[in-house]
């Protein structure tokens, strides 16, 4: 019988080693990835915001960093870091709404770092990052007026949401703004699919770093995900075959 704890630490160690090896390979000959329309649109939206003098709104949902749902918000922070560096050159910098106080502090820090790195005249304002509510519904209720502001032309919803995200996508669509959405929640993904112009399905949201910045570790982590996925598929198929054969 396999010890699940040892199997777990084995998978983590193997993933870490693979990630380091692929990062080294990527530095010598960079990998190429398939085109994901949502990321192309997000980058285009950032450039258009600078040209038009409008702003992008990022919504990081209400994922808690002390639980698994925080990972999607961390992926969102990486995206904010890259895109807000572009938008900080415009008249109106990006703005962020969050439904979790820890993510809110991290988002403030991320946006401030982007401003500092871009070295423009625009100063970072604390009000550019807003904590709008602690419960999922109160977060959405607080974020809806922010999304209704006239100078916002694109909304990027990336993080942990529930079905209530439908209210946010609806506001975006009614204001004729483009809505690009991604979540780790299945319910939210179904709602987003039906109501937003562009969506990232499943683990695509964790590819934000690899698609928006030339980092070898982000690229290698995507490759590791692919390898682990194929290993899981093989294990599932082997398990099914062994079960059919009466061995398991």
């Amino acid at each position: 019988m396999i010890n699940p704890n040892l199997a777990g630490i084995g998978i983590v160690t193997l993933s870490a080693i693979l990630m380091m090896i692929f990062a080294l390979i990527h530095r010598r000959s960079p990998f190429s990835f398939r085109i994901i329309q949502a990321f192309t649109r997000i980058q285009r939206a950032a450039r258009l915001a600078v040209e038009d003098g409008t702003r992008i709104h990022f919504s990081l949902g209400n994922g808690n960093l002390l639980t698994l749902s925080g990972a999607s918000a961390l992926a969102g922070l990486v995206l904010i870091r890259r895109l807000s560096e572009i938008t900080s050159f415009g008249d109106r910098p990006s703005m962020v709404t969050t439904g979790n106080p820890i993510i809110n502090i991290l988002a403030q820090d991320t946006l401030r770092t982007s401003h500092d790195n871009s070295a423009t005249d625009n100063t970072f304002k604390m009000s550019d990052v807003q904590f709008t509510g602690l419960t999922p519904i109160s977060y959405v209720a607080g974020a809806m007026p922010v999304m209704s502001e006239d100078n916002i032309t694109s909304h990027v919803l990336i993080g942990h949401f529930g079905p209530e995200v439908g209210l946010l996508t609806d506001v975006g669509e009614r204001k004729n703004a483009s809505v690009i959405a991604a979540s780790d929640s299945l319910t939210a993904q179904a709602v987003m699919y039906a109501s937003s112009s562009e969506i990232l399905i499943g683990e695509e949201l964790f590819a934000a770093g690899a698609y928006t910045q030339p980092s070898s570790y982000h690229a290698s982590s995507l490759l590791v995900q692919d390898i682990l996925r194929w290993v899981t598929i093989a294990a599932l198929l082997a398990g099914a075959v062994l079960k059919l054969a009466g061995i398991l």
Binding site: M20, Q130, L186
Partner: protein
């Protein structure tokens, strides 16, 4: 000096991450104790973060009131009730009023928004073909319709004969659960690699992702 602080931050964050990870997997008492201690600190800091978040909410809305931005009356109402709720929560004699605020204001307001959400979702599904006109959208709408028909008891008919007994269980137990597990496996793999990037110090959310 800034670089030194940055390196120190990374060392502390990565060490804490490794200890929590190893404490989860390995049955070593000292790792267990350290992991529990670090998680307790994390919960205390999370509590403090709520206070900072509330201050952020307060200051943003106060600024909007000061600048007399459109809809500033709403901001004033929010500030008033924020202070009122805080006073009720912090005054021991007013504690019973907390339940009144919760059950009489917060819960009905959230339920009302959920009712609006039901209408919004129906409208959204009608708009789907305009946003994304492809085979996947047709299948999405068709399966949603079959699930709805197979779930709800209808007046005079009750359950729909074939749809409720055969089609809906087949869709939800076989097709949907298979697809959902596939997506969840993908998300957990993404979560794993995101965590590893933080342990490697590649992503540093604690330093604004420098």
């Amino acid at each position: 000096m800034k670089r030194l602080f940055s390196a120190l931050n990374a060392v502390i964050a990565i060490s804490a991450g490794v200890i929590v990870l190893l404490g989860y997997f390995l049955d070593i008492p000292i790792l267990h104790n350290l992991r529990s201690l670090l998680l307790q600190w994390a919960f205390i800091l999370a509590g403090l973060a709520v206070l900072i978040g509330t201050w952020n909410l307060f200051s943003v809305h106060l600024q909007k009131v000061r600048e007399r931005k459109s809809g500033f009356i709403n901001n004033m109402v929010l500030l008033f009730f924020l202070l009122l709720t805080m006073t009720i929560g912090l005054t021991p004699a007013l504690r019973p009023l907390q339940y009144l605020v919760f059950n009489g204001i917060l819960v009905p307001a959230e339920i009302s928004l959920l009712a609006v959400l039901a209408v919004t979702l129906i409208y959204g599904s009608l708009r789907l073909m305009r946003i994304r006109n492809n085979l996947a959208s047709v299948m999405f709408l068709f399966s949603a319709l079959l699930i709805l028909l197979g779930t709800g008891p209808f007046p005079f008919i009750g359950q729909m004969p074939v749809i409720s007994d055969w089609i809906r269980p087949f869709i939800s137990n076989n097709l949907v659960s298979g697809g959902a597990r596939g997506i969840l496996i993908g998300i957990s793999l993404g979560t794993l690699t995101t965590g590893l990037r933080i342990l490697f110090g590649v992503d540093r959310p604690y330093e604004g992702n420098q």
